[in-house]
């Protein structure tokens, strides 16, 4: 563990795995898997006949194939499953071609739409995914098929990494950023620079001018919300609207997006970061059925 005096890593969020206590493996016909290897985080999901069985969520290491393997092993840990038991595995995400044990790779756009459809239900028509190093705006139909998409992975503004930079600058744990930003009495002007690097300099100036941390965070969350709203408006927003990815857990950004759009986002008890892997696993199930792979 960290020794006293070691610098606290404010960007570090909790990694975990989960098992469905109620699902009976032996009765399942098709077991499918999905692995979403992102630049920042990786998730592995196993579904039995299209129902969530187990999953893991962890930080992507320096090596994509290893991260894919580790995420998968951790997801199935303690379940009695092995890779061989799974009829079809689909890889997705930035590192999708690096999932060596996958049968097929499908783009993260298609997987996120499909996954959001599962997590939020067939009424979802507009999905905003705010990931570690990208931001996606997706319109889909009631089956989770993509009708329009836009992905921005060039610029850190509006991504998890951008938020991590700020969490670090202000010495606030990434998991606390959202709630803290909502404690301001009056909403400040958003940070004027879109660019995270320049916004950081601007924020440093604000801190020196005496702004408390929560006010600076509010200004940044506000700027981030505004930026993603312009991306969403480019493809048009149709209800119902839902958010996936890590930043969906940041109430400070979510609340401000809802305010600017004038629409409430759907809520879920599922982990929003697994949407891509869930979609991949569902594609896997459909492909297994198509190819006649059943137990």
């Amino acid at each position: 563990m960290a020794e006293t005096g070691a610098k606290k890593e404010f960007w570090r969020w909790k990694e975990y795995n989960w098992k469905n206590p109620d699902l009976d493996l032996s009765a399942g016909k098709i077991i499918s898997g999905g692995v979403d290897v992102g630049s920042v985080s990786s998730q592995a999901v196993v579904m039995v006949d299209g129902e969530l069985f187990c999953y893991s969520n962890m930080r992507t290491g320096s090596d994509s194939p290893t991260s894919a393997q580790r995420a998968f092993d951790w997801a199935i840990e303690g379940t009695g499953l092995t890779v061989a038991d799974i009829q079809y595995i689909v890889g997705t995400g930035y590192g999708r071609i690096n999932v060596p044990f996958a049968h097929k790779a499908i783009t993260e756009i298609a997987c996120h739409a499909r996954g959001a459809n599962y997590i939020y239900g067939p009424s979802v028509r507009t999905v905003l995914d705010m990931g570690g190093q990208d931001c996606k705006a997706i319109r889909c139909d009631d089956k989770g098929k993509v009708t329009t998409f836009l992905m921005n992975d060039k610029c850190a503004a509006g991504t998890g990494r951008g938020m991590e930079v700020f969490a670090d600058l202000l010495g606030v744990s990434i998991e606390d950023v959202g709630e803290l930003s909502l404690t301001v009495e009056e909403e400040p002007e958003p940070v004027s620079s879109t660019c995270v690097v320049f916004a950081k300099t601007e924020a440093t100036g604000l801190l020196r001018a005496g702004w408390p941390r929560e006010k600076v965070l509010a200004a940044y969350c506000s700027a981030m919300a505004h930026r993603v709203v312009t991306l969403l408006e480019r493809i048009g927003v149709e209800k119902e609207f839902a958010i996936t990815g890590g930043i969906a857990k940041n109430a400070g950004v979510v609340r401000r997006i809802e305010q600017e759009l004038g629409i409430s986002a759907l809520t879920t008890s599922y982990d929003t970061q697994i949407a891509g892997a869930v979609g991949a696993a569902l594609f896997g199930r459909a492909l297994a059925q198509k190819e006649g792979k059943q137990r």
């Binding site: 060039k154 990494r161 100036g205």
Partner: protein, 261 residues
């Protein structure tokens, strides 16, 4: 007549003191958060170097991102205008002037009379200018001034996919994990930055003489990639980061003479 040009840049504030056609002093200070204070400090340092007092200066002209903050300047000139004036003064045949600073890159095309024909800017995105190299130097744990020489020692071409400073930092960390040499990474960094500047310069059209100014002109790795990209040698004046301030000082002279008439 003695004039002064103050270039309040995003990272450094530069001052040039000019007498006729001779540069008497050049000084640079970190801009920090108070732009007017930085301008005053830089001016005082330059006056010190020249052995002069502020009263000796007939006219002051300000340029750069913080030009409006310099309340004690008589004139203000755009950076594009200052770049053109400064570059032409030092290189009379200048037709394409490229200024790459800490946060902004500019390409300017001039005609045979030195008039500005076209210009393009890379702004508001840190990947387009010196901040990119600076952040990568931190990720590599080397001095900013070592990035250029390191790049020249590279033996292999390594592609850099990230187009953003924040993502590039993560990419550099991964490359280091994968045991890529610092030289090869430094080269990937200069190539990436140069390719953006080259693309921006092509937009205004490239014509000899090609003049490169601004702090980034001191990065030999960048210069090589830039020249290779444009297939043209670049003329780099000595002390390239002061050329914009020089242009401002020249503008002050012109205006002072104009008022006398």
């Amino acid at each position: 007549m003695i004039t002064a040009g103050i270039d309040v840049g995003n990272k450094f504030t530069k001052v040039v003191i000019l007498k006729g056609g001779d540069v008497l002093a050049r000084q640079s200070v970190l801009t920090g958060f108070d732009q007017e204070k930085a301008a005053q400090k830089a001016l005082e340092a330059a006056l010190d170097e020249a052995g002069l007092k502020q009263e000796d200066v007939a006219r002051i002209c300000a340029t750069g991102a913080g030009k409006q903050e310099v309340t004690f300047a008589a004139d203000v000139i755009t950076e594009v205008g200052a770049d053109a004036k400064g570059a032409l003064f030092l290189v009379p045949g200048a037709r394409t002037v490229v200024d790459v600073g800490a946060e902004e890159g500019r390409s300017i095309r001039l005609d045979e009379k030195g008039r500005i024909v076209d210009f393009a800017m890379n702004e508001k995105c840190a990947a387009g200018a010196g901040s990119f190299t600076e952040a990568m130097a931190r990720a590599l744990e080397v001095d900013l001034t070592d990035m250029g020489p390191l790049a020249l020692k590279s033996k292999a071409l390594v592609p850099m996919n990230a187009q953003c400073v924040v993502f590039a930092e993560s990419e550099v960390v991964s490359l280091i994990h994968a045991k890529t040499s610092k030289e090869d990474i430094a080269r990937a960094v200069s190539d990436a930055m140069a390719s953006r500047i080259v693309s921006m310069t092509r937009r205004v059209g490239v014509e000899k003489a090609l003049v490169l100014i601004g702090g980034v002109a001191k990065n030999v790795g960048f210069v090589r990639a830039f020249e290779e990209g444009l297939e043209l040698p670049a003329v780099i004046p000595g002390d390239p980061e002061f050329v914009t301030a020089l242009g401002a000082a020249l503008n002050a002279s012109k205006n002072a003479i104009g008022e006398e008439e």
